[in-house]
């Protein structure tokens, strides 16, 4: 019964219930933790903890009836277990206090757990007939022995176990921190290496740039010298020039042809593989799985299959084989002949060029040349090559080659530098700790699959039933998420966790591309604790790693912690 101080307090003593608060040897009522003991000192009056204006007789403490709107008069029973945002409450659950926000003032029933450590058990578990040893090893939560429940005190045994575990955990945490430091050192070293590389490359580039400049000058020099000689030099005939151009072009086309065929073959293999999948699918699907999409897929497949698809034309392939052979005297064009041809009737030669080519090549060229070149150019795979290589002396050519080579290595070095710099820009987490884990793979068996997580690389699902491997995502970024945990007092609290996000994995049948969110927890080893499919093709993994354990950065911090992290 609740009465405001000013109201009928007298009535309380008149109506005093026969139940007296149980005191088990100590001065605290049952279920009260030391930190709340001060509220229960008065021998006559108890003021509800969160609403001290509301007072009840001390006899109402633990009388198995909920008087206080914050439940504080029942620290040792389940009578106020309904005081929660999770309960449907009516006005009569808080007589005269309609406007109060109902939250329990106490975290739970306090189990002393002598021989172990004290703990709170949720009020809803007090006297429910179940020994909740996880919280209450002394069995004190079942003091009423409802239905004959007896919970023996198991604190000695459980405490020992717990201490052993705790000891192990502590050790493990120490080890984890050590490992993290190693990781940090490793990461720092790797980062340092890259930074050193950057310096080295910068220097190299400078050197290359100077060389290039010098070589350009050289080339100019040689060209000038040559120009003076050129007057008397024999000018190559147009046919010879054309032959050279043609040779280059044919070479290029041949390479393209080979490449394209290779791709075609790969694609055919893929089509075959897909056809195999689909025909197996057609055999194995539930003819009435009631999925419209599936049915449509099957009938489309049947139509497709009915059309009959040949594996290609063998004769044509033989032609292509022929074309693909390098030119020499026996096959293809005898370029040497053309390069040395006297320049008598150039136009004629151009018109009759085809006569010197094998017929298969001619038709292939006729069919494909324009289209293909256009395609390549349009897509930027081939630059529009200007035909300007006239006749040049060996000296000029050498100079040019040297310049080219140098330019090339300058380009390559620049590229390397760019890569390194980009890498330094990547977020590898605090103190770049994940740099040390990049590419490290861990696996876990779960049901019919083995799951694999390669740090900052990808996640995979490998079927144990022989269904092959499925990519569950490629690394995208380091992020964070909040998860809900129960704290020591039984409240749900949110905790921030580092995540590794993997996206754009293989696409699901009729669904999205797979993705995985890896939630990291501090642990001694890199280990996948749990994998779950939160929704279709969206996975989450809980992974332990020393990399996210707290601390370690300060003392043994990597040489340089990036400012922006």
């Amino acid at each position: 019964m609740i009465f405001s101080q000013s109201s009928l307090f007298l009535a309380v003593s008149l109506a005093a219930s026969t139940v007296v608060a149980t005191k088990d040897g100590s001065s605290r009522p049952r279920g009260v933790a030391p930190e709340f003991a001060k509220f229960y000192k008065d021998p006559d009056i108890f003021a509800c903890i969160s609403h001290p204006a509301l007072q009840v007789s001390s006899s109402a403490i633990n009388d198995d009836y909920c008087d206080c709107p914050d439940g504080s008069d029942e620290p040792g029973t389940s009578a106020c277990s309904h005081i929660s945002h999770h309960s449907p409450l009516s006005v009569a659950d808080r007589p005269g206090a309609n406007d109060l926000d109902l939250t329990s003032a106490l975290p739970g029933f306090y189990c002393k757990n002598k021989g172990h450590r004290p703990s709170y058990v949720p009020f809803q578990r007090v006297n429910d007939g179940i020994c909740d040893y996880d919280f209450c090893c002394d069995g004190s939560d079942e003091w009423a022995h409802v239905g004959g429940t007896k919970c023996e005190d198991r604190c000695k045994e459980l405490g020992k176990e717990w201490r052993k575990k705790e000891d192990k955990r502590q050790k493990s945490m120490t080890a984890a921190l050590r490992k993290k430091k190693d990781l940090l050192v490793d990461a720092g070293r790797q980062e340092k290496e890259i930074e050193d590389d950057v310096q080295r490359l910068e220097t190299e580039i400078e050197a290359h740039e100077i060389k290039v400049k010098n070589l350009e000058t050289d080339l100019e020099e040689v060209q000038k010298q040559e120009q003076s000689k050129l007057v008397r030099g024999r000018k190559k005939g147009k046919v010879n020039v054309l032959a050279e151009v043609a040779k280059d072009r044919v070479e290029e086309l041949r390479e393209n042809l080979i490449e394209v065929r290779k791709e075609r073959d790969e694609t055919r293999l893929q089509v075959k593989e897909l056809e195999a999948i689909l025909s197996k699918f057609k055999e194995e699907y539930n003819p009435n799985s009631n999925d419209e999409g599936v049915k449509r897929a099957v009938s489309s497949w049947e139509e497709y299959a009915a059309k009959g698809h040949s594996d290609g034309n063998h004769a044509r392939d033989r032609d292509l084989d022929e074309i693909s052979k390098p030119d020499d005297e026996k096959s293809g064009v005898n370029w040497e002949h053309w390069e040395n041809e006297e320049d008598s009737c150039e136009m004629d030669a151009v018109y009759h060029l085809a006569a010197y080519l094998p017929p298969s090549l001619v038709s292939f060229l006729e069919d494909q040349f324009i289209v293909f070149r256009g395609f390549l150019e349009k897509n930027g795979f081939l630059s529009k090559k200007s035909v300007e290589s006239g006749s040049e002396s060996q000296a000029v050519q050498d100079a040019r080659e040297a310049l080219k080579a140098e330019e090339k290595s300058l380009g390559e070095t620049r590229k390397q530098l760019r890569n390194r710099r980009e890498d330094l820009e990547i977020n590898y987490g605090p103190a770049s700790v994940f740099r040390a884990l990049k590419g490290v793979c861990i696996v876990r068996d779960a049901g019919e699959y083995t799951y694999e997580q390669c740090f900052l690389d990808q996640t995979k699902q490998n079927s144990k039933k022989g269904g092959g491997s499925m990519r569950m995502g490629n690394f995208q970024r380091i992020g964070s998420t909040t998860i809900e945990e129960v704290n020591e007092t039984g409240d749900i609290v949110t905790v921030e966790r580092t995540t590794l996000e993997y996206v754009r994995g293989q696409t699901c049948w009729n669904g999205p591309a797979r993705s995985t969110k890896v939630v990291l927890e501090c642990g001694e080893n890199n280990e996948i604790l749990k994998v779950s499919e939160d929704e279709r093709c969206v996975y989450s993994m809980i992974v332990t790693t020393p990399a996210v354990c707290a601390g370690g950065e300060e003392e043994d911090a990597a040489p340089r912690v990036k400012d922006e992290l």
């Binding site: 008149l14 309960s87 394209v260 539930n286 999409g293």
Partner: protein, 958 residues
């Protein structure tokens, strides 16, 4: 040319686009073309055509069925005779008639076909099937109530051409049988309530040999001998054999029942017109994918019980036939037929029943109240079994919890968030390759440890076992079933092969007693390894669903044990499996004395004795949420109240508002289970973010708080057949305005009235109140009063619109626990709302919630009564051998709180009450507090700890 790689990527993409193009899913909806309309079902079309022809001819037409007066015999409350049908070829077909008058007050009319009874027919295709019309539906559906009346007599006061039989209570009923043309009128107190063949649609398609039709034959024989639908051909070895009958309810404008349809409670007309259906209501148990709403289409279950209701009168008919059945409904203004005018009624409802095969077998119930129909129908087909306590708590299901560890994790999460649940479910994928009675060794390597964890908080596991058995060598169930001949056979007598979840499958034939017996043994703990006593069963797909069969079920010419065609027995097929499973669950281990729990999707009249049902594969939409109310209500008044719908919607993802509202609605389903399709996001309540999680928890805890009342309502259903949640007409049978209401409900006999919010963005509910009692808001005691009008109740997202009718004592248990099993020892709270006369009544039934000990008296059954400021508790149970022992174990379970809503003003200064326990002369006192509330809200008084034992007789004097 390294640069060429992007080309290959592009090509691959292009190819993928092409392939994916095939896979585009169109908007999901029922594949309507896979299921028949009446016009595609030969016998339905023929009978409808017959009705049209009869109607067109009007008075110039006379039914060709005549009861031969010389054959009429009346003996021991049974009337026998021969109806002679004269065919267009002037052939005389003899149809034996039996009308039985039962002690219960029901009448039963059976018409059979003499030639077929005597076996004087030939069956085509050398088929081995039976010659009789199917007459064993009774065997599966009916368990009692067939005792013949001791007092039915022929009424001597009769006219030429009529036979009149007086029967029923005080001979207040009369059946008037007209000989030529044959028709029957059923009267109560001299007024006709039910008529057979008044419209002349009676049609028994007699057996005939197949002859080459004559050129000018007037009859369309195209559907007589063979029918093809959706690529499947029915060989129809017995030719046409359908039966049709019109049943009229003069003066009745509402008919209810004949589940299962996703439609309104008050059935619509089916012959077209605005707001009406074009097709008859169909009963042909089917696995319908993403079913249509507001449709007469058949669904998974069938109960051919129809009740007609008008002011102050309810009557009903039960059409006992297991074959495919269609029911047309037409309502007509009765002014055309002044003779059948009821007092104040203007409309007559005509129903036309059409079945494909079997004998004609109809029960007629003359009411006069909805409760009478529940009771009498329950006597016949059995009452809902009293379920275990856990079965009426909250069930958490998903297709699929993927590993045993997953199950443990979900279990732990509920506790972490302190959200109660009782049962977790495993859908098909727990099995090894979809072989029932096995576990996937990789995903469920340790089922026992999982079950033990659940048992730690008295929770249960339900696993799916379906009747299709994977056809695989080495699978012990398949091998034994095939070897013993326990499988359903095809028309040629070979084992029938079809496709279902496991791929190629065969079906157990539980019509075969030996097969049923064997099936029962499979569930034994030593057979179904990995199962333990807290494992229960879900029988799904028992329509039966056959993925490659006609209309997703078996061919009608399949053959079951006893040489009945599948056509004959289709609608009871599911029940045969349930019976066997029920038996199995009572014999898993010798000496085990626990009540089974089975969930079924397919059902027929009688299934309520052994199982709970749910409305199948619904969708996460507001429309689907809304339709669950009429569907659950309709099942309730049709004798199968243990009904529910998938909370959250099976297909698709509900948003937080829809999910919250669905939980707030779902807590009013007698069977309360959340379920979700494999492709949906996980949506266990603890995964929903606040504040919706809080609202869902509050709804769940409200269900748990009211479990004592739920259990009491289930007990009432188990002895009286009363629905557990009741529509307006059932509670207020005199208020015509409420007859069609199907979006609000009363919970048991508690007076709790709720109108769940089933539309998006709603902030209030308009609850219709029929009577002039005061109604109090459940949470803040706001008063609503005013008969025959709607009252606006605030219903923001956190609120369940729930009212308490004045005049009730409501038992609750207010302490939240992890599961219902752990509430066993908790004290009760009694909430009293006084009626106009300052009185209130309530009942409470309690037992151990799991065993059959209650049959030996181990239960508490109390009646609470409040009058003249005294609340008293009376024993209304019957003592048995176990009563005393049980009461002793319950002696510590007490009443912790009594709340009186809207008490007399004089109580204002009262601070205590006197308590007098039975056998004690001096009373004790308990404190009481009177709390006034602002205007519009009722004041209330709270008694603290009266401490009276729930099982004892006592009085509390205010």
């Amino acid at each position: 040319m390294a640069r060429s790689w992007p080309v290959s990527v592009r090509w691959t993409l292009l190819l993928l686009v092409v392939i994916l193009g095939w896979l585009v899913i169109p908007g999901v909806a029922v594949k309507r073309e896979s299921f028949k309309y009446c016009s595609q079902s030969g016998f339905c079309k023929r009978n409808r055509a017959y009705a049209d022809e009869v109607s067109a001819k009007g008075s110039s037409w006379s039914s060709p069925y005549e009861l031969e007066p010389s054959t009429i015999q009346f003996k021991d409350s049974q009337l026998h005779g021969i109806i002679v049908k004269t065919t267009s070829e002037n052939e005389k077909v003899r149809l034996p008639l039996t009308v039985s008058f039962l002690e219960s007050g029901a009448a039963r009319v059976v018409i059979d076909e003499e030639k077929r009874l005597k076996g004087e027919i030939d069956i085509r295709h050398n088929s081995q099937i039976r010659k009789e019309r199917y007459n064993e539906a009774e065997k599966w559906a009916v368990v009692g109530g067939l005792d013949l009346s001791k007092s039915a007599t022929l009424n001597a006061n009769t006219e030429e051409g009529l036979t009149k039989v007086l029967y029923g209570p005080g001979s207040s009923f009369q059946a008037i049988i007209r000989h030529a043309p044959f028709d029957v009128e059923f009267q109560r107190d001299g007024e006709t309530h039910v008529q057979f063949n008044k419209q002349g649609y009676l049609n028994m398609e007699h057996w005939r040999p197949k002859l080459e039709p004559e050129e000018d034959s007037p009859e369309d024989q195209s559907t007589w001998w063979e029918e093809t639908f959706d690529g499947n051909t029915d060989s129809k070895p017995r030719g046409p054999e359908s039966l049709g009958l019109d049943i009229s309810f003069p003066g009745y404008s509402h008919v209810f029942g004949i589940p299962e349809h996703a439609d309104s409670l008050s059935l619509r007309e089916t012959r077209g017109g605005s707001g009406n259906h074009e097709d008859p209501y169909r009963l042909y148990n089917s696995d319908i994918f993403e079913y249509e709403l507001n449709s007469p289409m058949t669904l998974y279950g069938a109960i051919p019980l129809m009740q007609a209701h008008r002011k102050d009168s309810t009557v009903g008919v039960f059409w006992l036939n297991a074959a495919e059945t269609w029911i047309d409904i037409v309502k007509s203004s009765s002014s055309a037929n002044p003779l059948s005018l009821g007092v104040g009624s203007k409309t007559t409802t005509h129903s036309h029943w059409i079945s494909e095969a079997g004998q004609l077998d109809v029960f007629v119930f003359l009411g006069p109240s909805p409760r009478d129909i529940s009771k009498i129908y329950g006597e016949l087909t059995g009452y809902t079994q009293l379920p275990q306590q856990f079965a009426i708590a909250y069930h958490q299901c998903r297709w699929n919890y993927v590993t045993d560890e997953d199950v443990k994790e979900v279990d732990a999460q509920f506790d972490k968030y302190q959200i109660p649940y009782d049962v977790i479910w495993l859908d098909v994928d727990y099995t090894d390759d979809r072989k029932y009675f096995t576990w996937d060794p990789m995903t469920f390597p340790n089922p026992i440890s999982m079950e033990e964890q659940l048992d730690d908080s008295e929770r249960k596991l339900v696993v799916l076992i379906d009747p299709h058995i994977k056809n695989e060598d080495g699978y012990f169930v398949s091998e034994k079933m095939k070897k013993q001949g326990f499988a359903v056979k095809n028309k040629d007598g070979n084992i029938y092969d079809g496709h279902c979840w496991p791929g190629a499958s065969n079906w157990i034939d539980c019509f075969n007693p030996e097969a049923a017996k064997w099936w029962s043994t499979l569930y034994r703990y030593d057979k179904f390894k990995g199962s333990s006593p807290n494992v229960f069963i879900w029988n799904d797909m028992n329509e039966p669903s056959v993925f490659d069969g006609p209309e997703v079920t078996m061919p009608k010419d399949n053959i079951h044990w006893g040489n009945w065609e599948h056509r004959d027995i289709h609608n009871v097929n599911g029940v045969t499996l349930l019976n066997s499973t029920f038996k199995a669950l009572t014999s898993r281990k010798k000496g085990e004395n626990r009540r089974p729990f089975i969930l079924t999707r397919s059902y027929y009249a009688g299934a309520q004795r052994v199982a709970a049902m749910w409305t199948g594969d619904n969708q996460a939409t507001w429309d689907h949420l809304a339709i669950t109310l009429p569907m659950v209500l309709n099942n309730g008044i049709s004798g199968f109240p243990f009904a529910g719908a998938d909370v959250g919607g099976f297909f698709h993802n509900p948003g937080p508002e829809l999910l919250t509202r669905w939980y707030q609605t779902g807590i009013w389903y007698p069977f309360f289970r959340a379920h979700a399709h494999i492709e949906t996001r996980r949506r266990e309540p603890y995964l929903i973010s606040r504040p919706h999680r809080d609202y869902i928890s509050q709804a769940l805890r409200l269900r748990y708080q009211l479990l004592p009342a739920w259990y009491t309502a289930f007990h009432e259903a188990s002895v009286n057949g009363t629905p557990i949640v009741r529509p307006q007409f059932y509670v207020h049978p005199t208020d015509e305005q409420g007859f069609a209401l199907d979006d609000q409900l009363y919970f048991g006999s508690t007076g709790l009235l709720t109108k769940p919010v089933v539309s998006e963005g709603a902030n209030s509910a308009d609850i219709y109140i029929s009577d002039d009692e005061k109604y109090y808001d459940y949470f803040d005691y706001t008063v609503y009063q005013g008969a025959k009008k709607r009252h606006i109740i605030p219903a923001p997202i956190e609120k369940v619109p729930l009212l308490m009718q004045g005049g009730h004592v409501l038992p609750r248990k207010d302490r939240p626990r992890r599961s219902s099993g752990l509430m066993k020892w908790d004290p009760y709270t009694l909430v009293i709302t006084l009626d106009k006369n300052g009185e209130a009544d309530g009942t409470l039934y309690v037992d151990d919630g799991e065993s059959y000990e209650y049959q030996r008296g181990a239960y508490i059954h109390r009646s609470f009564h409040f009058q003249d400021s005294v609340l008293s508790s009376h024993d209304i149970g019957t003592k048995g051998s176990k009563t005393a022992e049980y009461l002793k174990t319950m002696s510590h379970v007490k009443v912790e709180k009594v709340i009186v809503v809207d008490p007399p003003k004089e109580w204002q200064d009262k601070v205590s009450v006197t308590i007098i326990e039975d056998g004690v002369t001096t009373g004790t006192t308990a404190s009481m507090q009177y709390v006034s509330q602002p205007a519009g809200k009722a004041s209330y008084a709270v008694v603290k700890k009266p401490d009276v034992a729930i099982g004892k007789t006592w009085r509390i004097e205010f």
